[in-house]
C-alpha cells in the first residue's frame, strides 16, 4: 500500500512536499501584502510577509507585535478554518498525484517516485504540483515545493525554495541539512519539549544540524531519551521513525456504516469522534501510537474521499477526531461552494479510519490506572452528544473576561469555541479593573435584575447623591414587589463610573451590599435613581 512499506529499502522515502507560506493568514482571507498577525494564547503563531518586514516574528506577544506593526490586522488562531481552506489545495494536488498526506494545514507531502516517473523527472513533477497549488490559492501566498529524502529535509527544501522549487539530489540530503541551524528541528517535531532541547543543544555548542548529526546516536539516546534518538535520525537525513516491514494488523481498522446517510457535519463529527476513541483504545491496548492515518469517507452514491494525515508526535483520539472533522468539513463545504462537483452529491454512508503507520508508543507517560485524561475524553464525548441533541451553542463553558460588575468578570462561551479542559480567558481578564468589588463574589447573578427599593427609617426611598453618598441609612429593602425586609447591615455605596469619555456608553452606577433579616444578602445597584438587585450572596 505505502511506498515506504514492503519495498525492503531502509533509506528514507523520496518525498515531494508542498509548503504554503503563512497559511493561517492566507486561510483567514488576508492578502499577503497586508500586515496581519495570527495569535494563539496571546502569542504570534503566524504573520503575513508585510508584518514580518516590520519585524514581527513568531512567538512574540501581542503587544510586542503591535508595537512593531501597529496597523496589523489581529486574527485569532483557528485550526478548523485553516484546514477547511486547505482542502481545495489538497484536492487540486491529489488530481495530479494520489496518496498525498496532509502534514498540517498548509503543508502536504507525497511520495515523489510515482509522480516523477509519470511527469518525467522530479523537477517536472515538482513544478506541475506547484502550478496546481498556486492556481488553487490564486497566488495569495508563496508556494514552495521541495523534493528530498524524507519529510524533514523536503520541508526545509520547500521553505528554502522561497516560492519556487528546490530538488535535493538523492543522497545529498545530509549535506543539504548540515549547515542549517538546529532550531529547524522545531519545525517538524511539534512538541514544546523540542524548543527546550534546541535551546540546550545550542548552549552545548551544537548550532547546526551537521554538528548534531556528528554526535553518536547512542550518546544522544542516552542523554535525551527517545527524543534524542529521533533528533539524531532527523539530522542524519533519515526518516524520523525507522521504516517497518510489518503490516498493520487488520483489526486496527475501524469503520462505521451510517444508515440513514448523514449530511450534517455535527452528526458526522460525533461519529468520527467515537470511531477515533475506539481506535485509540485498540492502539493503546497494543502499546502503539498512530503517526499516519488514512481517513476514508464514502457517500451513498459511491463517491469516496481518502486522505492521509500525519502527526509526528502521534495522533491521539482528539487529534484524530479533529482531522476527520476537518476533512469532512472541507469536502461538505466544497459541495455548496462555487464548484459543487468537487463535493459529495449524497449523504455520507461510510466512515473508516485506517492506520497507515504505527510506532511503539514511547512518548507520553499516562497514569497507570488511567487518569484525568479519561474523564476529559468522556466529557468531550458528552459535549458532542449534547451539541447534537440541543444545537451547537447549548453547552457553555466559563471564560474569564474582566469587568467591575459580578456578572462581568466571567462569562460563558459555547464549548466548541474554546479548547475543552483548558482555562479560557479574554485579553481583558488580565487588565486591572479599579472599582471592582473584592471577593467573595455573589453566587447568584440575576439576569435580568430584580427591581428593589431600599427605605429609610421614615419609609422614604433611599438615594445616592452625586458625590456617592447615601441620602439616608437604609433600614428595610423591598425586593420584586414583596414586603420590605429589615436591613441588618449594609456596606457601600461604591460608585462606578464607566466610559465617561464616551457619551453613548457612559454609565454611572453605585453598588450597595445589604444583609437582610431573613438571612439573605444582596448586591443592590442604583442607576438613574432606579434600584435593582444585581446579585445575591446565596
Amino acid at each position: 500500500m505505502t511506498a515506504s512499506r514492503g519495498t525492503g529499502v531502509t533509506g528514507p522515502t523520496r518525498t515531494l512536499l508542498v509548503w504554503c507560506a503563512d497559511w493561517p493568514v492566507v486561510a483567514a482571507g488576508v492578502a499577503s501584502d497586508e500586515p496581519a498577525v495570527v495569535l494563539h494564547a496571546n502569542r504570534v503563531v503566524a504573520c503575513s510577509a508585510a508584518a514580518r518586514a516590520e519585524g514581527v516574528r513568531r512567538g512574540l506577544r501581542r503587544r510586542e507585535a503591535q508595537s512593531c506593526c501597529p496597523e496589523a490586522v489581529v486574527l485569532a488562531a483557528d485550526p478548523d478554518r485553516d484546514a477547511r481552506a486547505f482542502e481545495p489545495v489538497a484536492a487540486a494536488v491529489e488530481a495530479l498525484a494520489p496518496r498525498l498526506e496532509v502534514v498540517r494545514p498548509g503543508v502536504l507531502a507525497l511520495a515523489a517516485r510515482g509522480p516523477s516517473r509519470y511527469y518525467g523527472g522530479e523537477v517536472a513533477a515538482a513544478s506541475r504540483v506547484r502550478e496546481a497549488a498556486v492556481a488553487t490559492i490564486l497566488g495569495r501566498a508563496p508556494v514552495g515545493v521541495g523534493v528530498a529524502d524524507g519529510l524533514f529535509a523536503s520541508l526545509l527544501a520547500a521553505r528554502a525554495a522561497a516560492g519556487g522549487t528546490v530538488v535535493v539530489e538523492p543522497g545529498a540530503t545530509p549535506a543539504f541539512l548540515a549547515p542549517r541551524p538546529v532550531s529547524e528541528l522545531a519545525r517538524v517535531l511539534d512538541d514544546p519539549v523540542v524548543v527546550d532541547l534546541v535551546d540546550l543543544l545550542r548552549r552545548l555548542g551544537l548550532r547546526t544540524l551537521g554538528t548534531v548529526a556528528a554526535v553518536p546516536a547512542a550518546d544522544l539516546l542516552g542523554r535525551f531519551g527517545h527524543l534524542g534518538a529521533r533528533v539524531s535520525r532527523l539530522t542524519r537525513g533519515l526518516d524520523e521513525h525507522p521504516p517497518r516491514a510489518r503490516a498493520i494488523p487488520p483489526e486496527l481498522v475501524v469503520s462505521t456504516e451510517i444508515d440513514p446517510p448523514a449530511e450534517e457535519i455535527s452528526q458526522l463529527a460525533f461519529l468520527a469522534r467515537s470511531l477515533a476513541t475506539e481506535l485509540g483504545d485498540r492502539l493503546a491496548g497494543r502499546g502503539l501510537v498512530c503517526t499516519r492515518i488514512s481517513i476514508e469517507v464514502e457517500t451513498e452514491h459511491g463517491e469516496t474521499l481518502a486522505r492521509l494525515w500525519r502527526h509526528e508526535g502521534g495522533l491521539g483520539p482528539v487529534e484524530l477526531a479533529d482531522r476527520a472533522r476537518w476533512q469532512l468539513e472541507g469536502w461538505l463545504t466544497a459541495a455548496s461552494g462555487p464548484n459543487p462537483s468537487d463535493g459529495p452529491t449524497a449523504g455520507i454512508s461510510l466512515l473508516r479510519l485506517v492506520p497507515d503507520q504505527v510506532v511503539p508508543d514511547d512518548g507520553r507517560q499516562l497514569g497507570f490506572w488511567g487518569g484525568a485524561r479519561d474523564a476529559d475524553v468522556r466529557a468531550a464525548r458528552g459535549v458532542a452528544r449534547l451539541q447534537g441533541l440541543l444545537g451547537p451553542d447549548a453547552v457553555l463553558v466559563p471564560e474569564r473576561r474582566g469587568g467591575r460588575g459580578p456578572g462581568e468578570q466571567m462569562g460563558l462561551v459555547p464549548a466548541h469555541a474554546v479548547r475543552l479542559g483548558a482555562p479560557a480567558a479574554t485579553d481583558d481578564a488580565a487588565r486591572p479593573w479599579p472599582g471592582r468589588l473584592p471577593p467573595p463574589s455573589p453566587v447568584l447573578v440575576h439576569a435580568p435584575s430584580l427591581p428593589a427599593v431600599p427605605f429609610d427609617a421614615g419609609g422614604q426611598p433611599v438615594g445616592v447623591t452625586g458625590r456617592g453618598v447615601l441620602t439616608a441609612e437604609p433600614v428595610a429593602v423591598g425586593i420584586a414587589g414583596r414586603a420590605p425586609v429589615a436591613v441588618l447591615a449594609c456596606a457601600g455605596p461604591w460608585p462606578a463610573e464607566e466610559r465617561w469619555w464616551d457619551p453613548a456608553a457612559f454609565r454611572r452606577r453605585a453598588r450597595l451590599q445589604v444583609v437582610l433579616a431573613d438571612g439573605t444578602a444582596h448586591l443592590l445597584v442604583v442607576e438613574d435613581g432606579h434600584w435593582q438587585v444585581e446579585a445575591t450572596y446565596d
Binding site: 479542559g421 428595610a476 456596606a491
Partner: protein
C-alpha cells in the same frame, strides 16, 4: 565508539505483547473497585460532614435556605479540583466568579442552558427545552441523563418529575456519577440531604467579607447519623474554610423572617 543499534528488532511481537500482558495482569490484580474510586474527594473543610467523601452513584439534595447554592458549589469543588468534570444544568443565574472562588475549576465546568421553560416549573419533567436540531422536543431529564454519562457531578437546577428522578438516580448509580439537586428540584428523598442553618455575615471593613454557617448532613447508610459542622461559606478570600475551634453545637443564631411594621409596601 560503535553506534548503538537504534532500530527495533524486526520481530516486534515482544514489544507488542508486553503492554497487553501488563494490562491483563493489572485487570486481574485490580480490586473490584478501589475505595478511592467509590467516592469523589471533598474539600478538607467538609470532611467533618462527609468523612468518606462524596459517594459515587448517589443523589444529594440541598434544602432551601440562604447559602444553598454556595453549599452545592463547595460540595462539588473538591472533586472538580481533583480532575472531575462538573455540569450545571438549569442554573442560568450561577455566579461564575463566585463558583471559581469557592474552588470549582472553571475549565472543567459545563453550563447547559435548558431555556427559560424549566425555571417556571410548568409541568415538571415534560418541560420542553425547545426544539433540538432535528426539531424534536428535548426534555430536561434527557439532558441530565446525557450529562450523567459525560461528567462526574451534575448540579441540577431544573425540575424533574418523580419518575424521571427515579430513572436518573438509577443511571447515576450505574455510571458512578453524583447528582446534586438544588432546593426544590428533586421530587423524592435523596441519598444525602444537606441543610444550611442560618448564616451570619461578617463586615469587618464595611464590606461583606465572610459568612459563618452551620451545615447539617443526613441521609442513608453511613450518613444515617446526622453530622453538623460550622463553616465559613465563603471565607474571607472567597474560598470556604472550617471555623477554627468551633463547637458544632447550637451557637449559630438563626435569623428568622422579621418584617418591619409600618414600612411602605
Amino acid at each position: 565508539m560503535e553506534a548503538l543499534d537504534l532500530e527495533p528488532p524486526a520481530d516486534t511481537r515482544a514489544v507488542l505483547t508486553v503492554p497487553s500482558a501488563l494490562a491483563r495482569v493489572a485487570e486481574r490484580s485490580r480490586p473490584v473497585a478501589l475505595a478511592g474510586q467509590q467516592a469523589l474527594p471533598v474539600l478538607p473543610c467538609l470532611l467533618a460532614l462527609l468523612p468518606d467523601g462524596l459517594r459515587r452513584g448517589t443523589t444529594v439534595s440541598i434544602e432551601p435556605g440562604p447559602g444553598a447554592t454556595a453549599l452545592a458549589m463547595v460540595l462539588v469543588a473538591g472533586a472538580s479540583a481533583g480532575g472531575s468534570w462538573v455540569a450545571a444544568v438549569g442554573v442560568p443565574s450561577l455566579g461564575l466568579a463566585a463558583t471559581a472562588e469557592l474552588g470549582v475549576a472553571p475549565e472543567r465546568l459545563l453550563v447547559v442552558d435548558v431555556g427559560p421553560g424549566s425555571q417556571a416549573g410548568t409541568g415538571p419533567g415534560a418541560t420542553p427545552v425547545g426544539p433540538g436540531r432535528t426539531g424534536r422536543v428535548v426534555a430536561p431529564a434527557t439532558v441530565v441523563a446525557a450529562l450523567i454519562d459525560a461528567v462526574d457531578i451534575v448540579v441540577l437546577g431544573s425540575r424533574v418529575g418523580s419518575s424521571d428522578a427515579r430513572r436518573l438516580a438509577a443511571r447515576a448509580r450505574e455510571q458512578g456519577a453524583v447528582v446534586v439537586a438544588l432546593p426544590g428540584r428533586w421530587p423524592g428523598v435523596a441519598d444525602l440531604r444537606l441543610r444550611v442553618d442560618g448564616g451570619t455575615w461578617e463586615l469587618p471593613h464595611r464590606v461583606l467579607a465572610a459568612r459563618r454557617v452551620a451545615v447539617t448532613a443526613e441521609g442513608r447508610g453511613a450518613a444515617a447519623r446526622a453530622r453538623r459542622a460550622a463553616l465559613w461559606l465563603p471565607g474571607p478570600d472567597g474560598s470556604p474554610a472550617p471555623v477554627a475551634g468551633a463547637d458544632t453545637g447550637d451557637e449559630v443564631v438563626e435569623v428568622g423572617d422579621r418584617v418591619i411594621a409600618g414600612a411602605p409596601a
